[in-house]
Amino acid sequence: MSRTTILETIQRTLIEILDNNSLKICEQTRADDVADWDSLNHVRLLISLEPTFNIRFEPEETTDVKNVGELIDLIQKKLR
């Protein structure tokens, strides 16, 4: 699956979770750059992405990624 497709899915899911229709993210975006993207909403994001990609995140992965690009890396690794 392409990085662009994964990025679009993450953005769509985040828009829903954060209730923010104007949200735009890129691979360099960090959670700190986005209002309300706190640790709890990050968990909500990961759990929402699990059925979409048919993957499962581990607890330690809730804090492992530094930006969206690293989250895409993680998802791609799990999809292999």
Partner: protein, 310 residues
């Protein structure tokens, strides 16, 4: 006025800042979370600082250890949140299982108690419940002749009660370890020596027992399989016209939470159904959330209820 403002006025550095700095030194990434938990009113900032002072008395030279416990607790809550979001339930459902996996693990409980203590001023919902307890429940406390707290834990609520209630103070816990912990905290805080701490189960026979006109059960109900039975048992131990302070969280996963309240109303209805008359309620969402957003997204809300025993 409950808070000693003159003392705070002359402090060189706020008591809260000392704790905040210790947390951020060990965990800089937590800065944005802490900033969202900051109280906005001057009254609450004063309360936060006053409670921070008490906490610093309790942590003594072990503030760093408490910070480690706090970080561990925050991580544990996130792990439990993953389970909660996947399944819609808390991980554990029975007291026996929680006792085996959590309460019997002394090292884990020590970290947990340390973390919980700091969360009283680092999490806005916990600070809000302290404000509700102090101002709306304790008030002047002049009419209270006998006060009971069930599960006094870190001892802060019991200590605060002792500052305004002239009557007899009693606290019960089923764990002797917890009682020892509370006793040490009360000694460190300089509380009155005649507070009675006893190993006592609220479900024990109460036919000839004394009655209390002020009862506190804070962050206990969510640890029980049948919280309503606990409320009914407590009601039997209360004087007519006595008041009870109840604090329990909804949608708040943690390793030892087994009873899931899905809305603040579930708790309030349970209190009413147990025969209490609701005097007031206060709902405090997790730091950074409005009540509406917390309700919509099933995020933790601390729920305080003050009720009367008719």
């Amino acid at each position: 006025m409950f808070i000693n403002k003159s003392h705070l006025k002359y402090s060189m550095m706020s008591q809260y800042s000392i704790i905040q700095e210790a947390v951020l030194r060990f965990w800089p990434e937590h800065a944005s979370t802490l900033s969202k938990a900051q109280p906005t009113s001057a009254e609450k900032k004063l309360l936060q600082d006053e409670i921070s002072g008490l906490i610093l008395t309790l942590t003594g030279n072990d503030l760093e250890r408490h910070v480690e416990g706090y970080r561990w607790m925050c991580r544990m809550v996130l792990e439990e949140e993953m389970v909660f979001r996947r399944t819609g339930r808390y991980r554990l459902a029975s007291f026996a299982e929680t006792d085996r996996l959590v309460y019997s693990d002394a090292a884990l409980m020590s970290k947990y108690m340390d973390g919980l203590l700091l969360s009283q001023i680092l999490w806005s919902n916990h600070l809000e419940m302290l404000d509700y307890y102090i101002n709306d429940f304790l008030g002047t406390g002049t009419d209270v002749k006998s006060h009971l707290e069930v599960g006094p834990g870190h001892g802060l609520l019991l200590y605060l009660a002792g500052r305004v209630i002239a009557g007899q103070l009693t606290a019960w816990d089923i764990s002797t370890t917890s009682i020892k912990h509370t006793r040490s905290a009360l000694v460190a805080l300089g509380a009155s020596a005649d507070i009675r701490l006893a190993q006592q189960n609220i479900f024990d026979d109460s036919s000839n027992a004394e009655r209390f006109d002020s009862v506190v059960i804070s962050e206990v109900l969510e640890h029980l399989e049948q919280p309503q039975a606990a409320l009914l048992a407590l009601k039997k131990r209360m004087s007519r016209g006595g008041r009870i302070f109840i604090n329990a969280p909804v949608n708040s996963p943690a390793i030892d939470h087994i009873f899931l309240y899905r809305s603040p109303e579930e708790l309030v209805d349970m209190v009413s159904a147990s025969g209490f008359e609701i005097e007031s309620v206060r709902f405090a969402p997790a730091s950074g959330y409005t009540e509406a957003r917390a309700r919509k997204n099933c995020v933790s809300i601390s729920c305080g209820v003050i009720a009367k025993c008719p």
